[in-house]
């Protein structure tokens, strides 16, 4: 069997994997990143809406190749449609959002990893961990149909929502029914809408989740929704929710689909540990998706950067023990853990609220002056108006 040797093998070439590969390679690590699909970034499994502020902090330059649209603001609409919280550019400074093209965004990040010196292998799927004397020493893979052994000092599981690497290693990434959102989305064209605002719609249009419109161009947007698994009664129901919303909203009267996207996101509390001797997890594989927004790219990129930097250090001492990787564990927790807990608790609360309460809540928050729309500022506004809703986690707000 063919064998390759490297310092770090990254399983999965999404944003978190590419960031890990890039920062590890920049620090001198010999990195191989494998991707089971024949194309990085495709097929898309994402709403593609991101906030802008974090890109610079993880060293990602805005590139017109992947920037589909820069929106002027965000609008959060109550279940009845009568109340909404809106925030536009004039108030928001630079804190407004981007809608990206993941097909190009993921490739741009992988290109950065390649420029830093990482090697990329497509159509290469990890099939199991290689264990020797109880120690993880790499992954077995199938590359273009041929078996391949990739031996490495550290295995990085960046294999997304359906992560196998963590499970093979014995890290419990299993999800409770209440912590899974099932999603369906169309890229709809020929729609008549405001292409300058992202829209989030609450309530029974998407029970336990929300419905979204993320503008791609003047008459095309990603239109989708996510429903809590606890609210789904029959197969394929999430698509029925979406089709029903689209049929009921006059903006979509003449709409036609260009693409259909299915998927699930985790909305769980942070895991107890994502590191062990010779292995770590990043991004969706490490269940780092924000439980309120369902967004995973920013958190995955932060984690990837932290992991890559720590791996670069580990290479120098040739020590990939958990003790060394703990620095990564500390870094991502320092940045993300409180927010993940806060947003998980907020999600648990919001999921229990009927449409009438969400309407009142939206109305109340709409009267509060916000400087930015983030989960943090919105929850602070809720605390001002409905303090009892957030009293269990107000210290995290």
């Amino acid at each position: 069997m063919r064998t390759l040797n490297c310092d770090v093998v990254v399983v999965g070439a999404g944003p978190a994997g590419s960031m890990t590969a890039k920062w590890a390679a920049l620090g001198g690590a010999d990195v191989i990143m494998i991707e089971k699909r024949p194309e990085i970034g495709s097929p898309i499994r994402c709403g593609e809406g991101i906030s802008r502020s974090w890109l610079e902090r993880v060293g990602v330059e805005v590139d017109p190749k992947w920037l589909a649209r820069s929106v002027k603001g965000a609008k959060i609409v109550s279940p009845s449609g009568e109340h909404y919280v809106t925030l536009d550019e004039s108030k928001a400074g630079n804190e407004v959002g981007f809608v990206v093209d993941r097909v190009f965004f993921d490739k741009a990040l992988a290109r950065d990893a390649a420029e830093a010196g990482a090697k990329i292998m497509l159509k290469t799927a990890a099939t199991s961990l290689i264990m020797e004397d109880g120690k993880i020493v790499g992954v077995n893979a199938v590359s273009h149909g041929e078996p391949l052994e990739i031996r490495a000092g550290c295995v990085v599981g960046a294999d997304g929502f359906e992560s196998q690497v963590g499970r093979w290693a014995g890290i419990d990434t299993s999800l409770k029914t209440t912590d899974i959102i099932t999603c369906y989305q169309y890229r709809l064209t020929n729609i008549d809408y405001d292409p300058d605002f992202t829209e989030f719609r609450l309530g029974s249009v998407a029970p336990g989740g929300y419905a979204w419109i993320f503008p791609k161009d003047e008459n095309t947007a990603n239109v989708g929704l996510g429903v809590s698994l606890t609210k789904l009664k029959k197969p394929g129901e999430v698509k029925e929710y979406l089709d029903r919303w689209i049929a009921s909203d006059s903006r979509f009267k003449n709409a036609q689909p260009l693409e259909a996207v299915a998927g699930a996101v985790s909305v769980c509390p942070p895991l107890d540990s994502v590191t062990m001797d010779n292995l770590l997890l990043v991004g969706d594989a490490a269940r780092m998706i924000d439980p309120i927004t369902g967004g995973g790219i920013a958190n995955g990129c932060y984690a990837g950067m932290y992991a890559g930097k720590v791996l670069a250090k580990a290479v120098k001492s040739n020590d990939f023990s958990q003790q060394v990787l703990q620095e990564y564990e500390d870094d991502w927790r320092d940045k993300l853990e409180n927010t993940l807990w806060r947003d998980w608790m907020a999600k648990e609360k919001l999921i229990s609220l009927p449409d009438e309460t969400l309407d009142k809540l939206t109305e109340a928050v709409s009267k509060v002056t916000l400087e930015r729309i983030t989960v943090g500022t919105l929850l602070a506004a809720v605390r001002e108006t409905y303090p009892e809703l957030v009293k269990e986690f107000e210290d995290l707000i």
């Binding site: 799927a125 997304g160 359906e162 499970r167 299993s174 369906y184 698994l229 197969p235 394929g236």
Partner: protein, 71 residues
């Protein structure tokens, strides 16, 4: 530790869960949500492993309504 990934020999005895290739979007929602880690996607083919305990979470969860019980 692999949740009963099917070996060549036992793929055929796999059970009473059925995947509609016509409906499946290959999104991996079922793979990541399976409490038993008993679902695998290999080159766009979904397989159920021995570890499946028929909890049927995947049937409700599949956004495309592609999973059902056989029979």
């Amino acid at each position: 530790m692999n949740g009963g990934r099917p070996k060549e020999t036992n793929i055929l005895k796999v059970i009473d869960m059925k995947v509609s290739a016509e409906r499946c979007h290959h999104c991996g929602a079922c793979v990541g949500s399976c409490p038993q880690n008993a679902i695998f996607m290999n080159d766009f083919v979904l397989e159920f492993g021995d570890a499946c305990n028929r909890c049927k979470r995947c049937i409700r969860l599949c956004p495309a309504g592609a999973i059902s019980e056989e029979g």
